[in-house]
């Protein structure tokens, strides 16, 4: 269904919904409608200045001059509330519609349609052409004039039904569809006989459907709900098909590297630049019980499975949570929350071919036969995502003269089944003071400190020692140090996950008179990891914000704001160097 047909059906839907409501005698209607010409011109590059704007795109090429308009209407009667809105820029790639209907709170429905363009960058690959002949790096842009962009469409429909004789029960249904169509820049890289980077357009036709259904009950003392969610992503053009270059020696141009590669030109066209396609199903159950007006308990269970259409691999997650809340004397509130998460990602065997050499010193033998301590190219993939997380949170809220103190403690244990030796343990302490919000000057100050043992680390990530600081004699890649020996000799463990975090958050609002108000906030976060074996990692972030509104008289209003953020990270930088 093309977008003109979709737009027409939407207008028809709006009229069908509005008609009966308008016909009622006790109806109050208000709104506005406007149309007019809009002229746009762009100098220079459009990709950033008009990243989400149709700019000067006409229906047929650059026109710059388009009719645009908007309409908004609210219709109210004793039992019905209807809200309609529409906006169109004259180009079908940028338009938006919304309908909201509430029928005596028995039936509520909302429908929204939103479409807008997204311009993407075009990498010209100018920086890749190295000139050292015969060994070189080259980049080829096969469509240098192509204008990459995606048209994004979002359709949402939400409905809720309540039965008047059983108002403790409700049903909800949501359908959402996301469409992306257009073209993005696809890349693929051939190695050996030059590093050769090629880019070409990849036509995108992606559709994602989300369906959610909920049944919920709440009689004031006990409440429970069940929600099922289904998501499906399909690609109309999942991959490009390209033939790789011939994998031969880049200097001698001889066919001596066959046993170091899995595929090349001899394998014909192969899929490259593949876009994701898969589905997800989740089931959520929630319940709560109020013992009295001071204490309550709540819990939730979520079970979900996500899979890939290409591999059939699945990731399963199970989530359990519980919360207890009680109020003591003097309105002191205590909360306790516990959560347990179990993530399992399918284990898979990656079966890789071993091709024998066709010429040179390794003719007739595979890479594993040439270097026995390398082992097999095939391996079993155990996922670092597999884990069990346990969370415990306790907080105490103490009111004092209409202000409030809060003290919190949170603990998290991350037990990774296939990665690392020890579980990650995090302890977080928070102290906060919030002043009475009704005062002319009100605000809060929050201090948070977090300490972690064994945060996530990339083991042996960098710094191989100088294994061979002299050329092989004769000059040849076959004897001497191999790449896998360099990787296995790396010494430094690296991480961007902190062991210590200190965070302070200040915010305030000041309203000295009825015609002026100021809001400001400042946040500072300092993180570090000094448990690494070769270096420290640290990061500091400052964030400041201020907003002002001023209405000096009935006919003048002013709003202004300022936001500043600064961050600095320090880490080890390593540049591996080898020639071979």
């Amino acid at each position: 269904m093309n977008h003109l047909m979709k737009s027409s059906l939407l207008v028809l839907l709006l009229l069908m919904v509005a008609g009966p409501v308008l016909a009622a005698s006790d109806t109050k209607t208000e709104g506005e409608i406007a149309v007019g010409p809009r002229f746009t011109d762009v100098d220079g590059k459009k990709d950033r200045v008009a990243e989400y704007d149709i700019a000067d795109d006409g229906a047929h090429g650059d026109a710059g001059f388009l009719p645009a308009g908007w309409a908004h209407m609210t219709v109210m009667s004793k039992k019905l509330f209807l809200e309609l809105s529409a906006a169109h820029t004259g180009n079908s790639k940028q338009q938006a519609y919304r309908v909201y209907l509430d029928a005596a709170r028995v039936f509520k429905t909302e429908f929204a349609y939103n479409r807008f363009p997204h311009r993407l960058d075009h990498d010209p690959l100018f920086n890749l052409d190295a000139s050292q002949v015969p060994v070189k790096v080259i980049g080829d842009d096969l469509a240098p004039a192509h204008d990459y962009r995606i048209a994004y469409t979002n359709i949402v429909s939400r409905s809720e039904i309540r039965i008047p004789e059983a108002d403790w029960l409700k049903f909800q249904f949501t359908y959402r569809r996301d469409e992306r169509d257009g073209a993005m820049q696809g890349f693929h890289i051939s190695h050996c006989a030059t590093c050769h980077v090629v880019s070409l357009p990849h036509e995108v036709e992606e559709n994602t459907n989300h369906i959610t259904g909920t049944v919920a009950m709440d009689n004031g003392t006990f409440g429970a709900s069940y929600t099922i969610y289904y998501r499906d992503t399909e690609q109309g053009n999942p991959a490009l098909f390209r033939t790789y270059d011939l994998a031969i020696h880049p200097g001698l141009l001889t066919d001596v590297f066959t046993n170091r590669t899995f595929y090349d030109q001899r394998n014909g066209e192969l899929p490259v630049h593949q876009l994701g396609q898969g589905s997800k199903v989740s089931h959520t159950g929630k319940a709560h019980y109020n013992f009295n007006d001071r204490s309550s308990v709540a819990g939730a269970i979520i079970y979900s499975v996500a899979d890939s259409d290409y591999t059939g691999l699945e990731m399963t997650s199970k989530y359990y949570s519980g919360r207890f809340t009680t109020m003591f004397q003097r309105n002191i509130v205590f909360n306790a929350r516990i959560r347990y998460t179990d993530l399992e990602n399918d284990v898979t065997f990656v079966d890789l071919p071993q091709r024998p050499g066709v010429a040179g010193p390794h003719a007739g033998i595979t890479y594993s036969q040439a270097y026995p301590d390398f082992g097999d190219t095939s391996f079993t993939r155990f996922s670092s995502l597999d884990r069990n997380n346990t969370d415990l949170e306790l907080d105490l809220k103490i009111p004092w003269q209409r202000h409030r103190f809060t003290f919190e403690y949170a603990f998290r244990n991350i037990d990774r089944e296939y990665y690392g030796n020890d579980a990650t343990k995090k302890h977080q302490f928070t102290a906060a003071f919030r002043s009475d919000p009704r005062r002319s000057f009100a605000g809060h100050i929050i201090y948070k400190a977090e300490f972690s043992e064994n945060p996530f680390v990339n083991f042996q990530a960098a710094i191989a020692p100088a294994l061979q600081p002299f050329p092989t004699v004769p000059e040849s890649p076959f004897p001497g140090v191999q790449y896998y020996e360099i990787y296995e000799a790396r010494q430094a463990n690296l991480s961007n996950q902190p062991t210590d975090i200190h965070n302070i958050d200040l915010a305030g609002s000041w309203k000295p008179r009825n015609d002026v108000g100021i809001h400001f906030s400042y946040n500072y976060r300092d993180s570090k990891n000094d448990d690494l074996n070769y270096s420290d990692w640290s990061q500091s972030i400052h964030h400041f914000n201020a907003n002002l509104w001023y209405v000096p008289e009935e006919h003048v209003s002013l709003t202004a704001g300022f936001n500043y953020s600064q961050y600095k990270s320090e880490t080890l930088f390593t540049q591996p160097v080898w020639n071979g």
């Binding site: 209607t29 208000e30 709104g31 506005e32 409608i33 406007a34 149309v35 007019g36 010409p37 809009r38 002229f39 746009t40 011109d41 762009v42 100098d43 220079g44 590059k45 459009k46 990709d47 950033r48 200045v49 008009a50 704007d53 700019a55 645009a68 308009g69 960058d121 075009h122 990498d123 010209p124 100018f126 920086n127 050292q132 100088a466 600081p469 002299f470 009935e554 006919h555 003048v556 209003s557 002013l558 709003t559 202004a560 704001g561 300022f562 936001n563 500043y564 953020s565 600064q566 961050y567 600095k568 990270s569 320090e570 880490t571 080890l572 930088f573 540049q575 160097v577 080898w578 020639n579």
Partner: protein
Amino acid sequence: MDNEGEFFTAFANIYFMPVENLTIFAEFWANNATQKMGNISLDLNQVEGTPHNFDYLMVEALGKLSELDVMQLRGRYGMEYSFKSGLFIKGYFEHIQYDDNQPYLFDATGDLYRVAAFAGYRF
């Protein structure tokens, strides 16, 4: 090595009714972002051997590959007049300026100019 970034956003809106039924408005915002890597250095006394045709001096310039400096300004200025019958007219001029102050591979600088005029009805 350190990686440093700064982001700055400011906005101001003013609405003025010099006479009844006439509103003049001005909306302005500015957005600036910079990011760079720095303090990359190499002690040649610690280097064992030099691969063929490799230039260690170029290591100092590695941070330039990721240096970003972007300023974006947007202004919209216009007026709206409402008639007693419910009809109204509205017009505005809009300018968006995107300055790429550290271009790499291509200069992303661009300017967008827009003029619009509308006639409408309120009920």
